[in-house]
């Protein structure tokens, strides 16, 4: 399947090479910082260019893993270095490689201290993210999945805001607690099935008696990552303290890892347990959507508001996944991509004015449209994408999820649909307080509109928001066949448990 080039390994480890280059930079501090920035930017751009090969060479008609690489790693234990992507993971690899150069550009001026270390952390982060989505061995996955925490922890803890230590520790504690349980699950699965090979495990039938325990152990980890209510409280704090680029990656990619876990592990490996726990997931999703939307209405801090909205949007994703319908699953995957772009962009929007005024307090702004009309337009477009306006990416994901969930459970669909109303309420209210009104505050009167660098950052995201909204088939055709196959493989086993008639591939 793969060509002669180990394209996935290349995409994964190229950033590390760049990080190594930055590591050996020496000399005058200013020059080191400048060189570190350029090396990081070029590395991430080259990585993105390499990953574009995946976009063009990926065979959309094929179901199953492509670009597969497999080497012996720990032969004694039958653990291999196994990489590969399918329709589910492919888009996330590209999302990661796209957002990284954007983040590096976004940090260009706002990061002034320890630039060298920052860039190393960011490139390391990229390696771990891409690796997480490519790994086809549970051990390698686990290492990537957990190692993501390290650079993220550092990015929040060193370059974050005033309460960065509290937030970093909270972030770390939450996610690590989940990880330990996941590790136990991996070990148990290895003990039972005798392999950590993901494709093999996806076809393995675990004893239903043990499935529920394994499922809960995995769920503990994934639910924190998503994050699902009620284990979401680390997210607002982490976002608030993280530097802009950290928030972008956190919202854009890291949150997707939990949902990816459900799709790669929970459902394929433990379908009976997944069916058993579907009502739980539905309930948590519904609460997440309504509860966090209401909380978002009350926020006074821009980043917190968007962070809470992320939890609500991810509630759509988890509900869509567990609907096990074609539209629900495709919608969930689409919503993840869309949210990656849109929430990333919204955090960048916050970053733009944070860089100018160094406060996230909504009340400190108002009337920015007078000084920053271009910024107002960009912010408006992403606001509309966030509230799911048709024609933007947000609509397709949200609507597909609701259609899919409606087929499975009309109550859940009805309840999460209220999120569409509340979402509009908090986003428009945010926009109105920051952008509209008279420009009266003195320190706002000197603010400058978007710089060239900022325009370059937003341009690809704007393009994506409209492309995904107007011609989403470019993206759904990547995961559509995989989803159909997914439902055929695991739907019947889930139906057998739940007596769930909706798991069809219509």
């Amino acid at each position: 399947m793969s060509g002669s080039m180990p394209i996935l390994s290349l995409t994964t480890f190229l950033p590390l090479l760049g990080a190594a280059l930055i590591l050996i930079l020496k000399g005058d501090a200013g020059a080191v910082a400048r060189n570190a920035r350029y090396i990081a930017l070029w590395t991430s751009l080259i990585t993105f260019a390499v990953s574009l090969v995946i976009w063009f060479q990926f065979d959309r008609s094929v179901v199953g893993f492509q670009f597969v690489e497999k080497m012996e790693w720990l032969p004694l234990l039958d653990i291999n270095y196994h990489m590969g992507i399918d329709g589910i993971s492919m888009t996330f690899v590209l999302l990661s490689t796209l957002l990284t150069p954007i983040c590096i550009l976004a940090s260009w001026e706002s990061i002034e201290k320890r630039v060298k270390e920052y860039m190393i952390a960011f490139l390391g982060l990229e390696t771990m993210m891409v690796g997480t989505f490519c790994a086809l061995d549970f051990v390698a996955f686990y290492i990537f999945f957990e190692a993501v925490l390290i650079p993220m922890y550092l990015i929040i803890g060193i370059w974050g805001g005033p309460r960065r230590v509290y937030s970093a520790v909270k972030f770390f504690l939450y996610t690590l607690t989940g990880s330990v349980l996941m590790l136990l699950a991996i070990l148990a699965m290895y003990t039972i099935a005798g392999t950590t090979d993901i494709p093999t495990l996806m076809g393995y039938s675990f004893d239903p008696a043990i499935q529920n325990w394994l499922w809960l152990a995995l769920f503990a980890s994934f639910a924190v990552k998503v994050p699902m209510w009620p284990v979401h409280t680390w997210l607002p704090d982490a976002h608030v303290e993280a530097p802009t680029a950290g928030s972008v990656i956190l919202a854009g990619v890291l949150l997707k890892m939990g949902a990816y876990g459900f799709l790669r592990f929970s459902i394929p490996m433990l379908p009976e347990a997944s069916a058993y726990f579907t009502p739980l997931v539905y309930a948590m999703s519904v609460v997440a959507v309504i509860y966090t939307s209401l909380i978002a209405l009350a926020q006074e801090d821009m980043k917190k508001l968007i962070a809470y909205s992320s939890v609500a949007h991810m509630g759509f994703v988890t509900a869509g996944i567990f609907s096990m319908t074609q539209q629900g699953l495709e919608g969930a995957l689409f919503q993840m991509l869309s949210h990656g772009v849109v929430s990333g962009a919204l955090f960048l929007c916050v970053g733009v004015i944070y860089d100018r005024l160094h406060t996230r307090e909504i009340a400190r702004y108002g009337g920015l449209v007078h000084r920053m009309p271009k910024y107002a337009v960009v912010f408006m477009i992403f606001t509309m994408a966030s509230v799911g306006l048709p024609g933007t990416s947000g609509f397709i994901g949200e609507f597909l999820v609701m259609v899919g969930v409606f087929k499975d459970n009309t109550w859940v669909a009805l309840l999460i649909a209220t999120g569409v109303i509340l979402g509009a309420a908090y986003m428009l209210w945010l926009y109105r307080r920051i952008i509209f009104g008279e420009l009266v505050k003195e320190d706002l009167k000197t603010m400058l509109d978007l710089s060239l660098r900022e325009k370059v950052i937003f341009a690809p995201l704007l393009l994506l928001v409209f492309w995904m909204g107007i011609y989403p088939i470019s993206f759904t055709s990547i995961f559509g066949p995989t989803v159909t196959d997914f439902i055929q493989d695991y739907g019947p086993r889930m139906e057998a448990v739940a007596g769930d008639p909706a798991a069809t591939t219509q």
């Binding site: 550092l154 607002p236 509860y291 009350a298 597909l400 259609v403 509009a424 109105r432």
Partner: protein, 651 residues
Amino acid sequence: MTLDVAIVALPLLGALIAGIGNRRIGDHAAQWITSGLMLAVMVISWITFFDVTGSGATRTTELFTWFETGSFRAAWAVRIDQLSAVMLIVVTTVSAMVHVYSIGYMHHDKSVPRFMAYLSFFTFCMLMLVTADNFIQMFFGWEGVGLSSYLLIGFWYDRPTANAAAIKAFLVNRVGDFGFALGIMGVFLVFNTVEFKPLFDTIIAGQTPPTFNFIGYEVDTLTALCLLLFVGAMGKSAQLFLHTWLPDAMEGPTPVSALIHAATMVTAGVFMVCRLSPMFEYAPYAKEVVTVVGASTAFFAATVGLTQNDIKRVIAYSTCSQLGYMFFAAGVGAYGAAMFHLFTHAFFKALLFLCAGSVIHAMSGEQDMRKMGGIYKLIPTTYTLMWIGNIALAGVGIPGVFGFAGFYSKDSILESAFAAHSSVGMYAFWLGIIGAVMTAFYSWRLIYMTFHNKPRASHDVMHHVHESPWVMLAPLFVLAAGAILTGFVWHESFVGSEMEHFWGQAIHFAATNEVPHHAHDVPLWVKLLPLAAGLIGILFATYAYLVQKGLPAAIANALKPLYLMSYNKWYFDELYDAIFVNPAKALGRFLWKKGDGAIVDGAVDGFAWLTGSWFAKRASALQSGYVYHYAFVMLIGIVAMVSWYIFAFGK
């Protein structure tokens, strides 16, 4: 057909040129490019209209597939049939006139290109809505016009009231769209398609599954779906309970009120019900609900219109009320009458709004009728045009000879309601008649307060009163022609003897629906009563505002509770604030501080406290140069754990 696509595409092009070009191309270029394109689209639309309604050559041009997941599929398409053709001429004509009018009305605004771009963008969305051949594109247009409406209501973004009104409009519409979206999902669940043609074919062929399960109940399929979809229509068309945004929307510039909040967008709900006539025809209970809601709105809004003092708000409530008439016409099965009133109303109501704009323009921005008066000699053209609009609205004419537009369309609606011979039909008929009295009354009250009696404005303002420039008056003449002629010219086509040929397959009548035919055979008194109602209203207004001038105040005092009820719009805003808005805000704050803060984080922090001092010490090292050590320790820790477990369990 390329021309069909051009109708939709040209306004978008205009919006993009004016929006992106903005200051670079300047005010004049933006005005003339957008207006020029709209005029061109208007001409094409009229050609299309005559072509389609004459030859019956309906067609759908599919551009490309929008999305496709499983059988959930929709395409970007331009569907031209009789129904969309009527909407095309309504939308493009009023839009073109409003574009031109805005050149004059907005000439000293500082954001002219932005305004023109919004107007054109709105027109694009509205055209996407009416030419959709599936629910999803309709929803696209539906939300798109909502966005344009939001942007235009809040066009003067310095004003807090404008911002609040814009958000309110968007949110109330979202509540409606919530129902609309659930309806679409239900349609897909039951029929496995969201495209109109296969959907309608299935229903007309009688293959509708009788029930489906919705939130735990086995509900009648078409009744449930139609009611859900109708919630969307209620939001967009400002029907009772979801109407509160429309009067506030008057915060937008007046040309916007004419285009969006009178002639086009707010009629989208009526259009939707007519478009979905194959569904509603087989959902009799849903039709009754539509009738009752429409009739109640027609009555309610008219009562509020009686006492408002803001010139635009009077017309806004009038719009709300007239939309109610359209809905109860559709509800009793007289879709042709509903569309006919939609068509004529667009002309005379846009005319009234633009005349109001002309008055406001003349009065240096004043909108309160209590501060007007005595200006009919100063702006005679506007005054005359306002009379034309009012006569058309009140439905005055000489039976069998000639009447202004509303004379034909409103009569046709009331006759249909009577001819339904049902209890909801009679409810609608009588409320409609009472509404007609009130309509005429508040229309002439508006004329007398605005133009007659002694001037109540300051000397300064009176000194500046002037007739509008030709660029504003010319569009008014076009609309006035519509207000005078459309009823007379087209009543045979829309609701008369040529009805079946005119509508073709675009509107579906069930075999049991005989209302459109019986509407012509109602007793004579039913035919004359609407005219009498209008004349009574006019005479009473004349008496109260020109002759016995103390009368209005005396009545208001005598019927104080009723007066306050009307003046305060039946207290809907206060009610909604008390039961929805404020509790939502309070709940959000409570969940944040108590739910997230005290309970969830309390538990987490409690756990963290146990290990707290240890962590705090280590964590503080972050700031003092131990970064690498820390990262290294974490990495080692993970690898160590992994290794240990693998070796412990692996063997």
